[in-house]
Symmetry: C2
Subunit: 217 residues, 2 copies
DNA sequence: CTCTGTGAAGGGATTCACAGCG
DNA sequence: CGCTGTGAATCCCTTCACAGAG
């Protein structure tokens, strides 16, 4: 793993949030925003905000701050979201359905183009406009829909094979809700969302040690 | 935020995973496990494993490695899981239901004792054994059920008020699936799971920059 | 030998602090 | 005076490297 010229993960996460805030303010009357305003909205510090914005190369103006429209455009370019990104979901269980429902109302950024399940009863059905295919048909569907992101919301036992299938179709961005530890190529980025780990973690930091918080800056 | 004697967040996350692996191996015939075995299973390095285990104070034996049963007991003590932790969920939408379904089959560690929703049609109903209450009744229910963890799976607009309600009832561990940036007391630990941020992130690291991976060690 | 335990080095991200500009 | 931009310091985590034990 060589993270050559890439921005820090944390910085990327925050930049997403700046984008959301700016988007919500883009139609307002205010044309400029200060680093400390963004910081206050997102519970961080102005230093962090300035550093992050510096990282993506945008230059604000002293005294007046950042132009909202320009910075927003800069962030949009940075995240390369001129067209919606195609997403596929493996596993039409509760999580899969939750994601499809969520994005069916917000098709601007991410477009869930297909879902896959191994249960014959689900294959061929349509959930909120999203067609469910057999996992066996993935490569065919992938050729047609050209997904860039894959989400795994299957039991852990199926996860590794699915990850490999996705990789062989050129998907290098995987969001893994299963408890499996995926083994992937170096160029694939996997993010694990493990509900047990999340709960253990917040329980540890919130309950076992009262004097701590990670939410504040 | 003073993270006094606390272990690093990343270390905590990994320790959860060690526990899961050890648990699955506890009934096997092998009595010992090496740091490099754990590392290989979880896609990390033996250095990391040894450092993490050192952090919680367990001492292995050179040559034979770690006693699986002892290390597991040590981890259980560390995470203080002698009894199930009580969890409440705000918002009986898709995510809320997914979580209830998931944990209704695994009541050992985390026990979802109640859920809350503002929709009158949901209040009073029961989903997979979990009773849905009005948010207004939270403090009454909380007195009875003594929840230690709260999960927010409502729209962002309701999140801040819910977080404050939870805090006033003594919950200091919050898992936030909404897009709201919560403002909480210092002693409360908030973990945000923002699906948009997650997807942006994996898209950035997986698609925009092919030469990178964060899954490998 | 092959393991663990751990001080020390290294690398990354955050924070500090201040120059420079309007 | 605000504010931003940014080198430098700091802090935290990971990695290295090796002593010590069996």
């Amino acid at each position: 793993m060589k993270r050559n010229k890439l921005l820090p993960v944390k910085s990327i996460e925050r930049l997403c949030l700046y984008r959301r805030v700016l988007h919500s303010k883009a139609s307002g009357k205010k044309k400029f925003i200060f680093s400390h305003e963004l910081a206050s909205i997102l519970n961080t510090t102005s230093s962090v905000v300035r550093r992050d914005i510096m990282n993506i190369g945008y230059i604000g103006t002293p005294k007046s701050g950042y132009r909202i429209d320009e910075l927003l455009r800069c962030l949009n370019d940075f995240f390369n979201t001129s067209t919606a990104v195609n997403v596929v979901i493996f596993g039409l269980g509760n999580i899969g359905k939750a994601l499809i429902s969520y994005f069916s109302m917000r098709p601007q950024q991410f477009n869930i183009v297909a879902c896959f399940d191994s249960a014959p009863i689900k294959v061929g059905s349509t959930f909120e406009g999203c067609r469910c295919y057999s996992i066996k048909d993935f490569s065919k569907v992938a050729e047609q829909k050209v997904p860039q992101i894959g989400i795994i919301s299957t039991p852990a036992s199926a996860a590794q094979e699915i990850a490999e299938t996705m990789e062989s179709s050129g998907i290098h961005s995987i969001l893994n809700f299963s408890t499996a530890t995926l083994r992937t190529n170096e160029e694939t980025f996997v993010e694990n969302v493990d509900i047990n780990v999340l709960l253990e973690k917040i329980y540890y930091f919130g309950t076992l040690n009262k004097e701590v918080s990670a939410n504040c800056f």
